[in-house]
Symmetry: C2
Subunit: 221 residues, 2 copies
DNA sequence: TGTACTGTCATGGGATACCAAATATATTAT
DNA sequence: ATAATATATTTGGTATCCCATGACAGTACA
């Protein structure tokens, strides 16, 4: 793998070196360019990025704490390979957290929030690119739960986003029927929120997220 | 702070140095011996533990990823000082996750599980030490959600345990009335589980966890 | 034929020494 | 008194060396 290519996508090295290495590797992993199981040799990475092995090790340790990298003691690091079971676990937790956060946020939503949600849906109908769709999907959930102002929830959702979505992108957004269904579900959630039925909207959101479990790639361990 | 004292409590240095340093610092933080806001100077730690600054830095980065340490770029690390608001956020997420996990686990519980839960409650009635009570409380929740077999949930719950409980220990377990109430709530949860009402038991558990919000120390920022 | 031992090699893990950058504090000049 | 400047402290990073570990290949031996 050409780490320099990844580095360019992330941008110039600014601030702490370790932070930069972290961003480069995380970008590589979450984008899918570094696939699960890929060996991440310290010397290779440090040579390609022209840094010493120290900040590389620190970045790897942090990525391990975030689940993105698995460190086998004395045998090096690999990009974490999720199992189907773990992926299912993640979707259930994501659904649970999102439900509760939406349950709190929706009663606090303004008219502008609702309008913004509708705009996101309209953009989704026109989206063409895989990553653009994912971004809009994430945006929808962000607006929906914004008013809850729960930083811990945001962190957990972000963690799951980093870990899980690289496995789901293709399955979720490449099939037109699935795309249409997903947008329809978003619309149903928004309609319920508009009607002031926070319980119904949150419940829809919960089920909507759990739907993803049915689209986990077949060829997973 | 005497880091050597902490090190002895953790045990001898086995395996990777970095891993050992991590355990020492985490033990110090979660136990409350290293209080929020305490400066963790790299040289001090490495000198006290007779290791170089390399594994110390790695341990600090991991602790940062877990929320226990806050790194101020170029200005060092401190033990994370939670705000009241963040602590409340954590309890809500803990309640949400526990609810869903219990909802799944309870229908799968065996007779032995239920007996074990009752035993934990009986032990709680006799517990005298602060840490013993906390351990039993954690044990109760562990048995209750064990059958759900959701590793991601376990990790998140453990993360919150590490971050939040050092602030709650005194408030939750030092007051006798509060203790009795907590045990009674555990009994109510178990009774509902025994009666086969997973929904009721999970709902009780949810509210039981949220109760902790009322016992957050007054003197928090 | 198969098993156990041995040596080599790639890689990770860690120590040491040194330097650069950033921040806080003290000092000096006006 | 205040702005500018020096100084000390600490972190962040590099280079280099060395040891430990696990994988693997080959070899001896039963």
């Amino acid at each position: 793998m050409d780490y320099r290519e990844l580095a360019e996508a992330v941008g110039p090295r600014t601030g702490a070196t370790q932070e930069w290495v972290l961003r480069v590797l995380r970008e590589g992993i979450t984008s899918g360019k570094l696939k699960g199981g890929t060996q991440l040799k310290q010397d290779e990475v440090s040579a390609a990025l022209t840094v010493s092995h120290i900040p590389v090790r620190e970045a790897l340790r942090q990525l391990e704490a975030q689940g993105l990298v698995t460190i086998h003691p004395n045998r090096g690091s690999t990009v974490t390979q999720l199992t189907r079971s773990t992926l299912e676990d993640m979707m259930e937790i994501r659904a649970s957290i999102s439900y509760y956060i939406a349950r709190r946020a929706i009663p606090l939503m303004s008219q502008e929030d609702l309008t913004e949600l509708q705009q996101v849906i309209e953009e989704q109908k026109k989206a063409s690119d895989l990553f653009e769709e994912e971004r809009l999907n994430y945006k929808f959930h962000e607006v929906l739960t914004r008013r809850a102002k729960n930083k811990v929830a945001d962190m957990f959702i972000e963690l799951i986003h980093w870990n899980a979505d690289r496995y789901l992108r293709n399955a979720l957004y490449s099939d037109d029927a699935r795309r249409a269904q997903s947008i329809a579900e978003h619309q149903a959630i928004l309609d319920a929120a508009r009607a002031g039925d926070a319980e119904k909207a949150s419940s829809f959101l919960h089920d909507h997220i759990l739907e993803a479990r049915r689209y986990i790639p077949e060829d997973m361990e």
